[in-house]
């Protein structure tokens, strides 16, 4: 047990830090620092910079284009990404479909899709949830009927994140109604340009637009786009949801948000003193720090297990559950930190390239403009990717045996 970095780990961290800080485009950094809206180009530009350096897919095996890092190196990389104000790397291709294709894909599928994921040439979205299948994902009803050398897909997907940017969707579809409901599901790759695919935006409570309904009406999908065996998509989906524990706790980003909180609390005042000197506020920051540190140490314990060759298990549910609680706790404190300025809504923050508060508009400092919308938006974190109730259920069943 040693919490100090080795000289090699130090050198690695410095190399990563130097590169990331020098390479992040200032306009993208500003958006991330202020919590402003990022558009497709922002993500793609940044991901291509990382790709050129060979660092875009830390979790992939070396032969498929991964950098071949140890768990500690990957942890340090996440840390430095957040510290450098990197946008979140879009996970659908890099952390979800990529590993799935490496595990289950045909040679042709790997050759066709993996290089394009690495180069951010294809934007993928995830077609899992449906109006009638949320936490109970296996009750999905979108049908794919085999017709010669292709499937015909009919149904509706929902909550599809950033589908408005997507070139492709990986989807769970029903190919059989026989047996248990998990048994008739298949994993299909759908070109979003196919006739019959309609994307309709869903406006969220913060006023933003990042999720969508996706309607599928007689969409023809070539049979070669089936991943894994027909009716075995549940196995693929479980692999996808369970194999990646890196980053699900969001520790590095929460640390960065704590820095932001301290920064804002130093600028805001209470009774003529900086808010950050207020004992009560400091105590609440200390409470969140404790939880964040406990989460980080738990993640490190699990990563050490992994480095020692243990397969990721249901303990990852702790990371999702606690990670989102910490993230949401920080958004609450950020909201509180800006005081009654939390009221002020500048619709400009929802647009690309917000120039800062207009001269004739309400007086709101740049740092406070997105705090309320972020608080509302981030309620999603304990709902997506298996709600916190689902995570508690997994812990109760898979770990405690209840």
């Amino acid at each position: 047990m040693d919490l100090n970095l080795t000289p090699e780990e130090f050198a690695f961290r410095d190399e990563v830090r130097t590169f990331l800080r020098a390479s992040i485009p200032p306009a993208i950094k500003r958006k991330v620092d202020l919590g402003l809206k990022l558009v497709k180009d922002d993500y793609v530009v940044w991901q291509r910079i990382l790709h050129e350096r060979g660092w875009i897919a830390p979790g992939w095996p070396k032969e498929y284009g991964g950098p071949g890092w140890s768990p500690v190196q990957r942890y340090l990389f996440e840390e430095e990404l957040a510290a450098a104000s990197s946008p979140r790397l879009i996970t659908f291709g890099l952390k979800m479909l990529g590993p799935v294709l490496i595990e289950f894909g045909t040679e042709a599928q790997k050759q066709r899709f993996l290089p394009r994921i690495l180069a951010s040439e294809d934007w993928w979205c995830q077609g899992f949830s449906e109006p009638g299948a949320g936490s109970d994902l296996a009750s999905l009803t979108t049908r794919a009927d085999r017709d010669g050398d292709h499937y015909v897909v009919n149904g509706q997907k929902t909550w599809t994140t950033l589908a408005q940017y997507a070139d492709w969707m990986f989807a769970l579809v029903r190919t059989s109604n026989e047996g248990r409901k998990q048994q008739g599901i298949s994993f299909l790759l759908i070109d979003m340009k196919t006739p019959g695919v309609t994307v309709r935006p869903i406006k969220t409570l913060d006023g933003g637009q990042e999720i969508n309904d996706v309607f599928l009406e007689n969409v023809k999908v070539p049979a070669e786009n089936l991943v894994g065996r027909e009716n075995d998509g549940w196995t693929v989906a479980k692999f996808l949801l369970g194999h990646e524990r890196f980053g699900i706790a969001g520790v590095a980003r929460s640390k960065k948000q704590m820095d932001r909180l301290r920064d804002i609390a130093a600028r805001e005042t209470k009774r003529g003193r900086p808010l950050i000197e207020d004992a009560r506020f400091r105590e609440r920051m200390a409470e969140i720090e404790i939880e964040l540190t406990a989460l980080e140490m738990t993640e490190l314990r699990l990563l050490s297990d992994e480095a020692a060759g243990r397969k990721p298990g249901p303990e990852a549910s702790i990371l999702k559950l606690k990670g989102t609680q910490v993230q949401q706790g920080i958004t609450e404190l950020l909201l509180e930190a800006v005081g009654n300025r939390a009221h002020v809504f500048d619709p400009g923050i929802l647009e690309d390239d917000w120039p800062g508060a207009a001269n004739d508009g309400p007086a709101i400092p740049e740092y406070a403009a997105t705090v309320a919308s972020h608080y509302f938006n981030w309620r999603k974190a304990s709902i997506y990717g298996g709600s916190n109730e689902i995570q508690r259920g997994i812990i109760a069943k898979a770990i405690l045996g209840l």
């Binding site: 047990m1 040693d2 919490l3 100090n4 970095l5 080795t6 780990e9 500690v72 004992a279 400091r282 105590e283 920051m285 200390a286 409470e287 720090e289 404790i290 939880e291 540190t293 406990a294 989460l295 140490m297 738990t298 490190l300 314990r301 990563l303 050490s304 297990d305 480095a307 020692a308 303990e315 702790i318 559950l321 606690k322 109730e389 995570q391 508690r392 259920g393 812990i395 109760a396 069943k397 770990i399 405690l400 045996g401 209840l402």
Partner: protein, 377 residues
């Protein structure tokens, strides 16, 4: 950087868990509590045989080396075993004060006996008015000839009644709450003027109030620096706080395990209680909070050995504050989920709950450590 146990650490853990599973338990605990001094001397001798009392003591002084992580692993098992023996007071508090504060001669004189199980220690640092503040000291030590004369009353010193030597904080200069001017003395429990009022604590351990009435000690009784003892006292208590968090994590794990077993076995409405989602989710929370506490306890233990003092302090406070909050939640939930059985003396759950609660009130409670973190941040 890594978070894995060495082979040696795994050995310590396995041996300790086996001991408390096979040779301890609630019945043994009750017997030990009823013995003079409130613990079992034979068991203490076995702790010594297994090398537990020698942890952290250098090998040339009869110790087995090792650091706070090894001790944390052991305390986790002691938590699960509900041990009543004076380990924290003798090995952790007393051992740290002597190892870090005593002269080479005194260390060579005392540490082999500590490792062998022949020397019991207590650290009397609190006073009636001081709550958890180590700097709030009214007890005085007046220079007299080559030595000092001690006067004052120390309260709730863990296992003071059985200690052969008692370390005390006393004021050699300055005003009541000054950081400077405090000195740590190692006093013979049998010295003229020393009176110990021994009593049981709520969690089944023992503590005592120590009255010092014109107690004469030599210069060699000083641990650390004259007037500069606060730092030494804080290091010892911080180490105890970090390791008490490990003990708490062991108790939390035992309570979670016991509660889950109870939910599986107890049937109501025609099915096991564990079938009810409302209860499943509460058990899941207990598990999560246990793991988070465990993680911080390990971190705090690692940070107590060498390195930056501020980092060590912060880590101890974070772990102890977490243990306080999680301990309250898990203790209360365990009792609640055991239903009526949870409030009986017969079941282990109540005994774990009481020990967990009293750990929060030892070495600084959650409020104290949160305030300390707030001042540090």
């Amino acid at each position: 950087m890594n978070f894995t146990f060495s082979d040696e650490q795994i050995l310590i853990r396995d041996m300790a868990e086996r001991f408390f599973r096979d040779d301890y338990g609630l019945e043994a605990r009750r017997r030990h509590q009823a013995l003079p001094g409130g613990f079992c001397r034979d068991t203490w001798a076995r702790f010594a045989d297994m090398g537990w009392l020698a942890l952290g003591i250098p090998e040339d002084l009869g110790g087995v080396g090792g650091g706070a992580v090894e001790t944390a692993i052991l305390l986790e098992a002691m938590g699960g075993g509900l041990a009543v023996e004076p380990f924290l007071s003798t090995v952790v508090l007393g051992g740290t004060l002597i190892s870090e504060g005593a002269s080479t001669e005194v260390r060579a004189d005392l540490l082999p006996g500590l490792a062998a199980g022949d020397l019991l220690l207590s650290f009397a640092y609190s006073e009636a008015q001081s709550r958890h503040d180590l700097n709030d000291v009214r007890t005085t030590a007046r220079a007299d000839g080559g030595g000092f004369v001690l006067d004052g009353v120390k309260t709730v010193a863990l296992h003071a009644g059985t200690a052969d030597r008692i370390a005390v904080t006393a004021r050699t200069s300055g005003a009541e709450r000054d950081a400077g001017g405090i000195t740590v003395f190692l006093v013979d429990a049998g010295a003229p003027g020393v009176t110990v009022t021994d009593y049981p604590t709520v969690d089944g351990l023992r503590a005592g109030d120590v009255t010092l009435d014109g107690v004469r000690v030599g210069k060699d009784a000083v641990l650390g620096e004259v007037d500069g003892g606060l730092d030494l006292a804080e290091r010892a208590v911080d180490r105890a706080a970090a390791l008490a968090a490990a003990e708490a994590a062991g108790i939390m794990a035992a309570l979670t395990r016991g509660t889950v077993d109870y939910l599986k076995q107890r049937r109501q409405f025609g099915r096991p209680l564990g079938d009810f989602q409302a209860l499943q989710h509460r058990a899941a929370e207990m598990y999560v909070e246990t793991e988070l506490t465990r993680s911080l306890a390990y971190m705090a233990a690692v940070r107590q050995d060498g390195g930056d003092p501020a980092t060590a302090r912060r880590a101890a406070s974070q772990a102890k504050a977490k243990a306080g909050q999680a301990g309250r939640l898990i203790g209360q939930e365990a009792v609640q989920l055991h239903g009526g059985m949870g409030v009986t003396d017969e079941m282990p759950v109540g005994h774990y709950f009481k020990r967990l609660t009293m750990i929060d009130h030892s070495f600084g409670d959650r409020s104290y450590h949160l305030e300390r973190l707030t001042d540090m941040a």
